[in-house]
């Protein structure tokens, strides 16, 4: 294997645009650039040059500010797999040859598929992997939160799942957080699956959740094509970290639709499902709501309300209510104190019933 080391000037790195996905990496260290016949791994940091702008003309920085990109800009992004039905499918390439920027949060990948309505992905050329002063490549896993074996405290846990990407899950999560905060309830929040994106993370922060995490904090740039054990690691790590802050409620967003492989896999992990007190389902239309509620109910998951994009239409709301037999809350109404207090009361009531029927559920793990 032919590996080349090149010292990196701090000034050069300071001028580069560091993507959101690199937010846990300590930049006050000496870096080297690793080149040659290397095989990148998911989570590896890469310094790349922008060759030709495509779909993503802005890059989310570590602050979540969307910075404009220019050709020949140098960016620090992370190799990862990308699953986005409305945009791209990408995988980690097996070389450092030119590839694509497949997510605004800063994910470098080999492009496999793209949605008809989006432009082709921005072209980038990797200049090398980032390595520390000893020559070890820097991976997100090197800056992750500590692994956890169990979750000690048991707040109320509310999960938001949906029919697909862009079904209203993130908005619903943020509004749920806001509604709880308005009641004086202490809320922690996290996104357990998906692709690293600052907008989703910031939406939860802006709504008032504290602390807020996503899988990047557990050392993963995305969850596409990860093993079940990785999903369990994310559940335990982020679950323990949030619980240790002793919130009253934890709000969790699960990315994409229920049919997405890793999402379905997550909902088959008992450590996760036993932890949940309620699921709010976000749907684009009534038929999707029916399918999602049936899917969750068939797995005995405690789905108790419907929300999402469909709630923009009163008639779609009525259809969903009639066919699913569950309350349908307008996505924006979730931020109202009046609605939120009933969501909380519902969650608490279900949790108490569950505790009575299954008293030994103090710890997860």
């Amino acid at each position: 294997m032919d590996i080349q080391f090149e010292p990196l000037q701090k000034r050069r790195l300071d001028q580069a645009k560091w993507a959101y996905t690199t937010r846990r990496i300590n930049r006050d260290q000496n870096f080297q650039l690793l080149g040659g016949t290397l095989i990148p791994k998911a989570g590896d940091l890469v310094l790349a040059r922008v060759d030709e702008l495509g779909q993503h003309q802005r890059l989310e920085l570590v602050t979540s500010r969307r910075a404009s990109l220019y050709e020949e800009d140098e960016i620090v992004v992370v190799y990862g797999n990308r699953y986005a039905p409305d945009q791209f499918e990408g995988i980690v390439p097996d070389h450092l040859e030119p590839c694509r920027l497949v997510a605004a949060g800063g994910v470098a990948a080999r492009l496999l598929n793209r949605h008809d309505r989006v432009k082709t992905a921005t072209r980038i050329t990797p200049l090398g992997l980032l390595a520390d002063d000893k020559g070890y490549r820097i991976n997100l896993s090197s800056a992750r939160l500590p692994k956890a074996e169990q979750i000690d405290h048991k707040p109320l846990v509310l999960v938001v799942a949906g029919t697909s990407m862009n079904s209203g899950k993130t908005t619903a999560c943020a509004n749920l957080v806001k509604g709880f905060v308005r009641q004086g309830i202490k809320v922690a929040a996290a996104k357990f699956t998906g692709t690293g994106a600052g907008a989703d993370y910031r939406a939860l922060v802006d709504a008032g959740a504290d602390p807020v995490f996503d899988f990047v904090d557990a050392g993963y740039v995305s969850t596409y094509r990860v093993h079940r054990d990785v999903l369990l690691d994310i559940v335990m790590t982020l679950g323990a970290e949030m619980s240790s802050n002793k919130p009253d409620v934890i709000v969790i967003e699960v990315a994409d639709g229920l049919l997405q492989r890793e999402t379905a896999r997550l909902f088959a992990i008992p450590e996760f499902t036993d932890w949940i007190d309620g699921v709010v389902f976000a749907a684009n239309d009534a038929l999707g709501a029916q399918a999602g509620v049936s899917w969750l109910s068939a797995r005995q998951l405690p789905v108790f309300a419907i929300t999402g994009v469909l709630t923009a239409s009163p008639l779609a709301q009525r259809e969903a209510h009639d066919i699913c037999g569950l309350p349908v809350y307008h996505t924006n109404a979730l931020a109202q104190k009046s609605v939120s207090s009933y969501v909380y009361s519902c969650l608490k009531f279900r949790s108490q019933k569950q505790s009575i029927s299954n008293p030994v559920r103090e710890e997860v793990g």
Binding site: F304, P314, G325, P327, Y329, S338, F349, R350
Partner: protein, 268 residues
């Protein structure tokens, strides 16, 4: 107020207070089962005494006392919504005075109650039960014109959200949903008659007639019950050939019996 209860007779009692409230009581001729008090609430025709007459046969058969409050129009113009605001003309509070008087006069426990309400009385009843879910054991609502939906996104009396007129509302929906509830509608009560509230707000959310509104309200209660994971007993039944007139319901022979069967079935 003194008056010796006489079996087989309709008594009319008056409670003096901020607003005068009258009510009628029937005590069965033969035996009285102290557990069986049947409360019936009139519609906007305010025919409380007629309600008593319509249920005397069942009262005798079940040994049930009948209590029928009368909400006079001059005192309680908005009794269906319990009042015009949280502080004005509160019909539910007047009803509580009736309960207290019944309790003291007949030495019977004031709750849990078995209740029936027709039209505006059905409106009063389901709202009273939302505010006081522990007091109502079972209820039958016949042909309410519209409802308070268990929807925290809509303001009271359309939903359960607080307003300036109704501040600081807090409902125990998990208790309300556990009240076995039968909603009766006449199978010809799908007309938009002059008494039906036809505001856009109610038409678009609750439906265009009493049957649609009953269906949607019952479904909404069941849905919230499912959300709370509470096994609810909210059901709807249709009364053949009944329009919206109270007489057309009474003309269906099993009507009164159907109500008593539902309200007192657990005691049989």
């Amino acid at each position: 107020m003194t008056d010796t209860p006489q079996p087989g007779k309709i008594h009319c009692r008056t409670i003096e207070g901020m607003s005068q409230t009258n009510y009628f009581v029937y005590i069965p001729s033969e035996t009285t089962d102290q557990r069986r008090i049947f409360y019936t609430v009139h519609g906007i025709s305010r025919n409380a005494e007629e309600h008593i007459h319509g249920f005397i046969a069942q009262a005798e058969r079940y040994g049930a006392i009948i209590v029928a409050p009368l909400f006079l129009k001059e005192n309680f113009p908005h009794y269906q919504q319990l009042g015009s605001s949280a502080t004005l003309e509160r019909a539910d509070m007047a009803f509580d005075h009736v309960l207290q008087d019944v309790h003291e006069w007949l030495k019977i426990p004031p709750s849990p109650m078995h209740m029936f309400g027709f039209s505006g009385g059905g409106q009063f009843l389901h709202r009273y039960a939302m505010f006081n879910p522990k007091r109502v054991a079972r209820m039958v609502l016949a042909a309410p014109g519209w409802y308070t939906f268990p929807d925290p996104g809509q303001k009271y009396p359309y939903g359960i959200k607080s307003t300036l007129e109704w501040p600081n509302l807090k409902f125990s929906m998990e208790k309300f949903l556990q009240i076995p509830t039968l909603v009766l509608t006449g199978d010809e009560d799908d007309q938009r008659d002059k008494d039906l509230n036809k505001t856009r707000k109610i038409d678009c959310f609750q439906g265009l007639n009493r049957i649609e509104r009953a269906e949607r309200w019952t479904a909404a209660a069941r849905a919230l019950g499912r959300a709370y994971n509470i096994p609810t007993d909210f059901k709807m039944e249709s009364i053949p050939n009944a329009s919206h007139a109270y007489e057309s319901y009474l003309a269906h022979p099993p009507f009164a019996q159907q109500i008593f069967d539902f309200l007192f079935e657990a005691q049989n």
